[in-house]
Point group: C2
Chain length 475, copies 2
Amino acid sequence: MSERADTAEPRPDELGDIAAEQAESRHDEDDRLKGEFVSAVLDAVEADDRDRARELVSPLHPADIADLLELTPSERRGEVAAALGDLVGAEVLSELNDYVRDDLLDALLPEQVAEFAAELDTDDAVAIIEDMEEADQQAVLDAMEPEDRAAIESALSYPEESAGRLMQRDLVAVPQHMTVGQVIDYLRDNRDLTTDFWEIFVVDEAHKPIGTCQLSWVLTCPRSVAMADLMKREQTLIPVDMDQEEVALRFQKYALISAAVVDGSGRLVGMITVDDIVHIISEEAGEDILRLSGAGEGDINQPILETVRTRLQWLVVNLGTAILAASVVGLFQATISKYVVLAVLMPIVSGMGGNAGTQTMAVAVRALATNQLTSSNTIRQIVREFRIATANGTALGILIGVAVGLIYGNHDLGIVIALAMLINNLVAGLAGILVPVTLDRLNVDPAVSSAVFVTTMTDVMGFFSFLGLATVWGL
Amino acid sequence: MSERADTAEPRPDELGDIAAEQAESRHDEDDRLKGEFVSAVLDAVEADDRDRARELVSPLHPADIADLLELTPSERRGEVAAALGDLVGAEVLSELNDYVRDDLLDALLPEQVAEFAAELDTDDAVAIIEDMEEADQQAVLDAMEPEDRAAIESALSYPEESAGRLMQRDLVAVPQHMTVGQVIDYLRDNRDLTTDFWEIFVVDEAHKPIGTCQLSWVLTCPRSVAMADLMKREQTLIPVDMDQEEVALRFQKYALISAAVVDGSGRLVGMITVDDIVHIISEEAGEDILRLSGAGEGDINQPILETVRTRLQWLVVNLGTAILAASVVGLFQATISKYVVLAVLMPIVSGMGGNAGTQTMAVAVRALATNQLTSSNTIRQIVREFRIATANGTALGILIGVAVGLIYGNHDLGIVIALAMLINNLVAGLAGILVPVTLDRLNVDPAVSSAVFVTTMTDVMGFFSFLGLATVWGL
């Protein structure tokens, strides 16, 4: 999140060295707020000692105040926020977890929310307003100044999670004939320009970006140099309707600090800066683990009923596949009743297939998400996984085969479980890569649905290969 | 990766509009190189038509040339790199996957590697050199200019994955009494300063940072303003030995573009910029899914034998736990042989526990990694997971209990499996959060070792609760 309000007016007196040292005792070595500190604040609020609470909290960075509110039990958040008063400002709100923020906003009047939103860059204001209910949203917009309101309404007209929602409209764009000196004078004379920018965009008459210029280049060059000679023409333009995940990948791949956002006709309509992207990069990279496990967005602040619903849906789907796998076992009841040891050993074969399949699947899902696995190397990766599965399946098969053969004094049983282990590892390796690759080709998020297919296959094939071989072998 | 060589001398002629349009046909809609394009380059190299290959590749960004080499089969990479000649420059090397780069570097002379390293920022040069074998590393260092060499040797003296390795030494630091005008003159006069910086650090006489100033503030202020009045005193200082994961979290939390790196005595020794952090943020967030599945670093370019070894280690550990779980089944062979249906149904109970445990574990691992789960809210989250597990376990228990009761016409069997399902869901929910939290307290990475504990518990308790209840119930 950018911090326009904070950076536009530097407050030299804000935090001296002594306060900085004190602040250290508020954080543990991992920069998390200490439990004792959080308790101290809550105790002060409890005791109605607002001065003490404010004194404790005031040296904190807005991001830390947001953390503090998130760490406060939900039923006490309103009370704590009220006690802290203006310390919980627009920046804190923009740093807050969505659920926690919605909780707090519900307690505010539309005028108050509008006031907060007006203090923020468009992108941060939109982040606050976009999740509100239609009626509340309208009330807030009605309470805003026409100019701010127009900017936010325009941003809201773009799809959710698109570049149009992420971008800010405040940017610096100059024509190419301007010189460095003219640009500096222009910046000094126009004090209502944003002060939060890292690059200057050079545009043509139609307001289409034709180059980008880092501020360091402007600062290190003589006044007489023309922007056209200084700018870098090779630039990454972000279409306004691009999905935020794509935007994040572009920033990462091309090491961007900021990028111009263009509309359908190529005109410059906004700017995205990397500080608004880092949390998206982290979210997008981290959410695969949650999706793969069926934990939805996995937000610990989500209302518990929503969490139960999300997870239960996934578990019920898995119950269906578990019953399917069990019905395979059902086919072999006669074999099992003759030789109960098969029931003891069969979960080993199915479980190990699940483990091996999950390894391959995790690698494939990450490689797809980071654009490392493309049509050019898919075949090569499938062959690679097949070779890995053959090696691992052989090693595990020999291991379990010898152990079972010795323990139960039955060579045939050892051979059967060894073969079943190899077969199920091959199934796991192939399913682990083919399922995510196929889903990706079908434009289905491989992280969301791969696991259910892969583990169903390894369960079914684990039971089928082991019990089937045992039946054929006449065990 | 920063691109000093590229940005220091902007090449206005580099990529015109026409080339940009052509470039579009090289990428698919997800900004990945198209399979046909990669094949065309490989065909040109195969046909020994270097001009054609270079013509195809020359409009690409270094990051794309790196992608191209990664997508080339490993046995052909040397040949392709040789054909592309100077198009595979220092920047391309610094963008390359570690394994692919090591492959290519092995084919180069130390002098050639030294030449590449000299073109890069210290951090990128270190990234290239740090993975080489000791002897090769020394040969490269010997071939470097004394100044570059000293910078790299000093960086290598810091621990791997620490801020000292990530930082660059080229930065702009000024005393606080300087005015904006003096700073601009200083920057214009010292053309050998880096041009890749986004903020100016203000230091005291002991070279300790006392404030930071965004370039945009310098550009928008009159020449007469003193840096001391312009700078922001509240700043995030990075200790030189801080782990890169911590550095990445700081950048994310405080929305930093660059940060000062300080040594033990608080003196400014380097600077880290966000473009060097974004790939760490993505890696750190993405690697949890790989660790949790036991896929190691999960790099598709890793030599296959290393991959087999990494994954096999994990699978063998899991084989041990699978045998442990199977031995629980072994305790109930008498019960199973009396009623084989139990063998059919038992994988459902254990498998569903595994699914529920994985959900909780994924959420806990992410919440720990992002500092959302701290000592202040651990109890609350445990209670939350217990409530979720109770709700889901009850729902799933009723579902499977009724289904089994009807299908097998045996109420008692339905009651037993319903109870076992509830019990195992509770075990899963508690293990899913307690295991990662405990490991984190013990300073063990919860992503690496949680899964094996959690799934062992859900397997063991799944079999034990179901078969145990069935035995007690006299089924």
